[in-house]
């Protein structure tokens, strides 16, 4: 009996942790809608961020530059503050090119994770996709759910401002990565936090120049 009670409590806690968050999302009558557009816009702009990466207790910092080269082509370059280029990525449509990476940074696991994070943030692959629309009544968010391989990306838009405030990359309702977009100025978040829940990785981007 005691064991049953314990198992039930454990099951309930796990359920609350995993499903509780998405459980409160109410499907919207309108489904299969156009997902939100990229925060980086479609004006071939470049953005410069002071960037801090903390991975398993090790800290890296530098400058991250994004530049839209053509409607579906983004270049993302990371350099140290002293100017040394660490990596140079290109996201074109659904393909990816690694133009350059310093040997010290060329660890497949780390590189793939950062590539995936930047890819989600650029929202480049959303242009041809459709989303399921939900309402988070508690936080007054419109939530767009888009399939991303075996995963789902949830895009949270604040109803009052129409600003994208959060992206969650989840598998079977378990959050894997959360992107928080803060301090909007002139329609762009000046602080972006990327936090991983299955590995000890945190990336913080602070906008320096748009």
């Amino acid at each position: 009996m005691r064991n049953l009670l314990l198992s039930s409590l454990l099951a309930l806690t796990l359920y609350a942790c995993t499903f509780g968050h998405y459980g409160r999302l109410k499907p919207n009558a309108k489904s299969w809608v156009t997902p939100p557009s990229s925060i980086f816009g479609d004006n071939f702009n470049s953005f410069l961020f002071k960037t801090n990466i903390s991975v398993y207790g090790r800290d890296f910092s530098g400058l991250l530059v994004t530049k839209q080269m053509s409607p579906k082509d983004y270049r993302v370059i990371f350099t140290t503050e002293l100017g040394m280029k660490l990596f140079d990525f290109e996201f074109r449509d659904t393909s990816f090119t690694l133009h350059y990476c310093v040997p010290q940074f060329n660890k497949p696991k780390l590189l793939n994770t950062i590539r995936e994070d930047i890819g989600i943030l650029l929202m480049n692959d959303l242009k041809d996709k459709k989303a399921d629309l939900f309402l988070d009544a508690k936080n007054q968010h419109d939530v767009y759910r888009v399939q991303d391989g075996k995963m789902f990306n949830y895009y949270f838009k604040e109803k009052s401002t129409d600003q994208l405030v959060k992206i969650e990359h989840s598998k079977k309702h378990v959050k894997k990565i959360i992107f928080t977009l803060n301090n909007y100025e002139n329609g762009f978040p000046t602080n972006i936090l990327i936090k991983h829940y299955n590995i000890k990785l945190k990336i913080e981007l602070n906008l320096l120049k748009k």
Partner: protein, 211 residues
């Protein structure tokens, strides 16, 4: 045959000429230059200056410009601080290296990390201009009306992977390094211009320790 040889020499001279930086010719007296640089380095006990760093990336329409201030004191003490558009500080104090970023200070033992050791050697040697004595670089010497120009090409493969060459522009009047340009294999580069230089003014040791 004669014509082929002539053509070959014309081709070689065009190639060699093309490789010379604009407005520069090969330095006439490299021995005298090296002696002067060494003498100047011996006379310099402290140095400080403002700097403007520009990062050129071929895919970007604008350069990334950052500004700051550096201080140097013999032996082996360096403070390199960015003040705009972000704050970031590297201080080297003999065998210790401090990095202050986002209000957080990290302290490293230079000898424990190969990369920090080479950053230290390169930064100190760059501001002093004595990279020309390093066995890690092959040097070529040029001069113009205003500057001496040293082109340093890394010898080791590890360095060649991320660095094509370093160009040091040295003033002909006081033998100080006025500009450094670090060119990557892709021809993207970082250039640093030094202004408001002061030499042999007292600088407190505390400047080179970060808390």
């Amino acid at each position: 045959m004669k014509n082929t040889t002539l053509l070959f020499f014309i081709f070689i001279s065009i190639v060699s000429f093309a490789q010379l930086p604009k407005g520069f010719s090969a330095m006439k007296d490299t021995t005298a230059f090296k002696q002067k640089m060494e003498a100047q380095s011996k006379l310099t006990n402290t140095m400080e200056s403002d700097f403007t760093q520009e990062k050129y990336l071929s895919v970007m329409s604008e350069n990334i410009v950052s500004k700051g201030h550096f201080c140097f004191k013999k032996t082996n003490m360096l403070r390199w601080e960015y003040t705009t558009p972000y704050t970031y500080l590297i201080a080297i104090n003999k065998d210790k290296m401090f990095i202050k970023d986002n209000g957080k200070v990290n302290k490293y033992d230079i000898n424990s990390n190969k990369m920090f050791k080479s950053i230290n050697e390169m930064m100190v040697a760059t501001v002093q201009g004595n990279l020309l004595n390093s066995k890690d670089y092959k040097a070529k010497y040029y001069e113009s009306e205003k500057y001496y120009l040293i082109e340093l090409t890394p010898v080791q493969k590890a360095a060649k992977d991320f660095l094509k060459n370093i160009l040091l522009f040295i003033s002909k009047t006081d033998y100080s390094v006025e500009k450094v340009k670090m060119v990557e294999p892709s021809d993207d580069y970082t250039s640093i211009d030094f202004t408001n230089r002061k030499t042999n003014q007292p600088i407190a040791d505390e400047k080179f320790t970060v808390k």
